[in-house]
């Protein structure tokens, strides 16, 4: 009996180690392309392979000197910022509606609001471009903003809804009860309470918009965004510029995501209870 227990415990340990090893392998697979791209962005060889060439800033200098990249970066930033504001606004409305109201057709409403991410981007891209052309508004920067907002609003909704979940539903009623109009309660209670989630949502939607290429590629017309530039370079020859741009985009997005996470995780620092 004792021996069997002993074997079992040993087997447990081996299985644990095997699983953790496997996990490391999976992580290796997931992070290999990311790390590779960062490394090669500093590599002097034209065709990125090993052994590595010497360290260089060449590719960064190339993109720094490239007016098209600058133009695209500007477009990307404008689109990402506008998208994040619009998408967060819409996400907030949806989350608040779900939190506060019960009504007939609520399920259909939520499906309508949350469905976009389940539609393949390429289909959304096709449909959006066709629709904008039909309305005669295609090729403008703000058509990318609209398309990205549709895509990003559900993410904002999810983040803000999770935060609202933690709000005592009496809080808003308490504000009315103390003389706040619906608007005043919204401004003074609901918005401050969800502030951390709103910032998270702004960052997340900005990051998604900053990375999105399929819809932007179709809809953008002449206003290319950074991912569209990458796509176009990709269609040409092997060009380590991509790694430089990619690293730049990666750093931007990751900064946004980390800010979002910080606000989300650190929203309510545990305070010592006063004795």
């Amino acid at each position: 009996m004792n021996l069997i227990m002993h074997l079992r415990i040993n087997a447990d340990r081996v299985i644990r180690l095997l699983l953790l090893g496997y996990l490391a392998l999976v992580f290796f697979f997931i992070f290999t392309p990311i790390v590779t791209s960062i490394i090669f962005s500093f590599n002097s060889e034209r065709f990125p392979t090993i052994p590595l060439g010497s360290f260089t800033w060449k590719w960064y200098q190339t993109i720094y000197a490239d007016a098209d990249v600058w133009e695209a970066a500007k477009t990307s930033i404008v689109v990402a910022i506008s998208t994040s504001i619009l998408a967060t606004l819409i996400g907030f409305c949806t989350a608040y509606t779900d939190f506060r109201y019960q009504f007939r057709g609520k399920n259909s409403y939520l499906v309508l609001a949350l469905l976009p991410p389940t539609i393949p981007l390429i289909i959304l891209a096709l449909a959006m471009l066709a629709w904008f052309s039909r309305l005669g508004i295609s090729g403008k920067i703000w058509t990318i903003v609209i398309a990205h907002t549709v895509l990003c609003a559900p993410f904002a909704m999810a983040v803000i809804r999770l935060r609202l979940q933690q709000m005592d539903p009496d809080l808003e009623s308490a504000a009315w009860n103390l003389g706040a109009s619906e608007w005043a309660a919204m401004r003074n209670i609901v918005v401050p309470f969800t502030k951390s989630a709103i910032i998270s949502a702004l960052c997340l939607t900005m990051a998604v918009s900053f990375d999105e290429f399929a819809v932007a590629w179709f809809v953008s017309g002449l206003n290319k965004t950074i991912p569209v530039i990458i796509l176009e370079i990709l269609q040409g020859n092997i060009d380590p510029q991509i790694n430089a741009i990619g690293t730049f985009v990666f750093v931007t997005s990751i900064t946004l995501v980390i800010i979002a996470q910080l606000f989300f995780i650190l929203r309510s620092p545990k305070q010592p209870t006063h004795v």
Binding site: R16, I30, T94, P120, I122, T149, V249, F250
Partner: protein
């Protein structure tokens, strides 16, 4: 109503509107390289009559199905380890790490794989030192699958981990007390309890792979083209938008059937 109306109007105008218009567009005609609004089956008949459409259709379906099976199987041991073999704090950190890939350009990651898998790429160079290869990995199904995994694996692992971490630990202990072995616990307790999360992970994997054009194009060599590549080819290099719309409608319909069936399966009582 103040809060509901703007969202409804927005979604109808810029989400439902485009999708409905796309369906309508599949019945339009193209005359003299210009689209004419009509209600004709022409594009449908044309597309359905073409062998290459059906080749693409079943090829895409098979690829996405394979991706789903591979991702589910590859993710499961990892998610299992994350759910049961690490502390809650570690798990939170690892999930945070798994979120990072979502925010790195998928295009750049694909390009990295291109460089790694190429005939004179990183892997073949390494293998060359020990006298192996070179192997052709680009422009094969393997290449496509690597791309698909890059796209879907983090999400599938996250969804599987979350669903398994929520399995009632008492249930597992009860099963062990009743003398169930490891394998039995996994098959009879953990998988049925985490079923919804596992299936949702698989569905997302299917949707993403089915709609992706980057991996099959740049890593798979587009032979034959998948449906999404077909859409791009039809629209970017011609004015055959109605035909592209036909493909898109077929894709959406297929996805809806798959998702609906899977969700019914996920929530059915029988295991």
């Amino acid at each position: 109503m103040t809060w509901r109306l703007p969202v409804i109007v927005w979604q109808l105008l810029f989400f439902v509107g485009p999708l409905l218009f796309m369906i309508a567009m599949s019945f339009f005609l193209v005359k003299n390289y210009r689209m004419v609004e009509a209600f004709e089956m022409t594009s449908w008949i044309k597309m359905f009559g073409k062998g290459y459409f059906w080749d693409s259709y079943f090829f895409t379906l098979a690829l996405a199905a394979w991706a789903t099976i591979v991702a589910t199987c590859v993710a499961f041991p990892a998610a299992f380890g994350l759910a049961f073999k690490v502390s809650d704090g570690t798990r939170r950190w690892i999930i945070f790490l798994l979120i990072i890939p979502f925010f790195t350009s998928y295009l750049v990651r694909t390009f990295s794989w291109y460089v790694i898998l190429a005939e004179s790429g990183v892997i073949n160079n390494i293998l060359g030192y020990i006298g192996l290869g070179p192997y052709t990995m680009l422009n094969t199904r393997f290449g496509t699958m690597v791309g698909y995994m890059t796209l879907t694996l983090p999400l599938v692992i996250i969804l599987q981990t979350l669903s398994m971490a929520n399995v009632d630990k008492n249930l597992i202990e009860a099963a062990q007390n009743l003398g169930a072995g490891r394998f039995q616990v996994i098959c009879k307790v953990i998988i049925p309890s985490a079923k919804v999360g596992l299936i949702i992970g698989a569905v997302f994997c299917f949707i993403l792979s089915f709609g992706d054009f980057v991996a099959p194009y740049y890593l798979g060599g587009s032979k034959p083209p998948t449906l999404s590549i077909l859409i791009i080819d039809t629209t970017k290099s011609g004015q055959q938008w109605p035909r592209a719309a036909v493909v898109a409608v077929m894709m959406t319909t297929t996805l809806m059937i798959v998702a609906f069936t899977a969700i019914k399966l996920a929530y059915s009582k029988k295991t």
